[in-house]
Amino acid sequence: MSEIPHYLREGYLTVEELTDYLGGLPSEERLRKRPVAIPECPQEIPCTPCKEICPVDAVSMPTPNDKPVVDYEKCVGCSLCVQICPGLAFFMVHYVGDRARITLPHELLPLPERGEEVILLNRVGEEVGRGRVVLVIPREKSKGDTPILTVEVPIELAWDVRAVRVVRGDDNE
């Protein structure tokens, strides 16, 4: 039997595994130009909405069971794949100055507001810092029935932050 990959033993991808499976991350130049879609979907599963919704045909997937591969140059950073992905496995990364903007799905209550400070979580749910929400697309405006957020994080956390936790004192809205 072949060796079980780390991500299936532990349930999360390391950045090395992600880089390997994607065949390399986008260049810094590309990351600074505009947001770019990053799939974290390393397994062959029968699923195609990301490819079907992409308006510029940047997601390649020869058969429904193939892994999605994004053409970083074609990708316009529209976030439709983040909105539609049934596995909540698509993200966007955008470098702006010394910060990175991460776009991620957020199907939990409460939905943070634009400008709100949230706790940043890595792929195993550890708190790695705090960041500010710069964009919210609520469920009713999302093309995939999933709310998405863009959160600004320190650039060195760009490849770690994949979820947020909203903390509100006594405000329980």
Binding site: Y7, L8, G11, Y12, E40, P46, I53, E107, D145, R162
Partner: protein, 480 residues
């Protein structure tokens, strides 16, 4: 405890009028449209019956009418499945203590009074497979009777808040609850489909050139259905695994927890341990977090996550540990779960002494697999085989899903444990094939069957599907 806020679901629209029922004489607040077990759970009542020999407390386990863990006495009548029986104003509910007898004054219904209904195709089960079978059989020209023992259509889709995979023409990207609504609406707008809910099929017989399905409605009314062909799409039930105290109230099948929190908006508990990291266990963990319930950990005996990786990643990044190569040793607690003890397994699947860990939880969710509900097909005399890849005993069938008994078709999880997407495709095939068999459809519908067969083949072409195909190969009857 009731859930009021939820990121996906709106319970305020679902709850009916507030009514009062009585449990062991105590008044309990309930909502019309919910089942007895849900109302009692919301009121904090976990113990519903006691076993007949050792008088051990028993609670809810499957919540879909398939086990008998939740039997209660209602207005003096014993053996009522509290999980699928709706509450009614003033209902008197009592705990069942072992085997109980009908009161002397009870008057059971008689077969001679049973109303009779006829159609080209009778479909048993209103989940994704049965609904698609009904819609497609009707479109092909057949009159259809669709029966289901739940109070609502949709099968297990009604509690699936996650978005489905597949292609967008197969509802990919749409939540299960929404797919249930779409399919129900499609079925209800076809006048050639007659729907019978809260109706349990209890037997299938040959009568001349027809199939007779006998059924019981609302625990008290006998019904007879006759069809030229039938489709059995009765789904699956949750498996149980052996460990100390595995019958304690608070140990639920994963599906029961989904029914509680997603269908009826009842909080299953506060702290949960999940056993099994297949898709069901992983999706359940995410849904629990969405309902505001803490998931302490997921334990998995295999050395890897069995479900789709993306489902695992969703809960890992919210801080839920997945302990592969771990199993549950025992549950602890007096009348209900108070703790779970787990341990690491060695290469030979034996717990390693000294690796025990205790989790303070009030709920243990078992997500250790499903097995096909083949009881009716078994009773009807269809040939069965035990196929590990398909989850247990399944019927032999041909490419159009006809079993070894001419005119009896099978679809969905009953044919082998898979996914709702494949259940829908199989339902389409079986529904059209049953309509053709009944002489109600024209031969050009064969093209639609072929199209669905192609879609199934494509869906199953990956590593997950290949496993299922191995199993299907073993049960396929090749016809000349």
């Amino acid at each position: 405890m009731r859930l009021n806020e939820h990121p996906i679901l709106d319970f305020s629209k679902r709850r009916g009028r507030e009514i009062t029922v009585y449990f062991e004489g105590t008044p309990i607040k309930a909502y019309e449209g919910e089942t007895i077990a849900m109302a009692l759970h919301a009121a904090g009542i976990r113990v519903l019956s006691h076993s007949s020999e050792k008088h051990r407390p028993r609670g809810l386990f499957c919540a879909i009418g398939k086990c008998s863990s939740c039997l209660v006495k209602v207005n003096g009548i014993p053996n009522v499945r509290s999980c699928i029986t709706l509450v009614e104003e003033g209902m008197r509910i009592e705990m069942q203590r072992g085997k109980e007898e009908l009161p002397k004054t009870a008057k059971p219904p008689e077969w001679k009074d049973a109303p009779k209904f006829d159609a080209d195709v009778v479909i048993i089960g209103g989940g994704p497979a049965g609904l698609m079978a009904a819609i497609n059989a009707a479109d092909a020209g057949a009159s259809v009777i669709l029966i289901d023992e739940q109070p609502m259509l949709g099968g297990q889709l009604v509690k699936q808040t996650h978005k489905f995979f597949g292609k967008r023409e197969q509802f990919a990207g749409v939540r299960g609850i929404k797919i249930a609504e779409i399919l129900e609406e499609e079925a209800r707008k076809r006048r050639s489909i007659k729907i019978f809910l809260e109706t349990s099929a209890v037997g299938i017989f040959q009568e001349g050139d027809k199939k007779l399905v006998i059924a019981v409605r609302k625990n008290k009314e006998l019904l007879e259905f006759r069809g030229k062909s039938i489709v059995v799409a009765t789904g699956a039930m949750e498996k149980m695994i052996p460990f100390e105290n595995n019958d304690l109230p608070g140990i639920y099948g994963a599906g029961a927890i989904q029914t509680l929190m997603n269908t009826y908006g009842v909080k299953p508990g506060d702290r949960v341990l999940i056993v099994g990291a297949g898709n069901v266990g992983l999706i359940l963990a995410y849904q629990l977090i969405q309902a505001g319930v803490e998931v302490k950990a997921i334990v998995e005996a295999m050395p890897k996550v069995g479900g789709y990786f993306v489902h695992a990643a969703k809960v890992r990044r919210l801080g839920v540990p997945i302990l592969t190569r771990h199993t549950i040793l025992r549950a602890e607690g007096k009348e209900k779960v108070e703790r779970a003890v787990v341990a690491k397994l060695d290469e030979n699947w034996r717990p390693i002494p000294g690796t025990e860990r205790v989790f303070d939880v009030d709920v243990i969710a078992l997500a250790v697999g499903l097995r096909p509900s083949i009881e009716l097909l078994h009773q009807a005399g269809c040939q069965l085989l035990y196929i590990r890849e398909l989850g247990g005993h399944v019927v032999r069938r041909d490419e159009r899903l006809e079993t070894t008994i001419s005119g009896i078709f099978v679809a969905g999880d009953t044919a082998g444990i898979e996914e709702a997407t494949t259940a829908m495709l199989e339902g389409k095939i079986a529904g059209i094939a049953a309509a053709l068999k009944a002489g109600a459809a024209s031969p050009e519908w064969l093209r639609e069957i072929e199209k669905a067969q192609e879609d199934l083949k494509e869906f199953r072409s990956g590593p997950f599907g290949r496993h299922v195909l191995e199993g299907i190969k073993k049960v396929m009857v090749v016809r000349e």
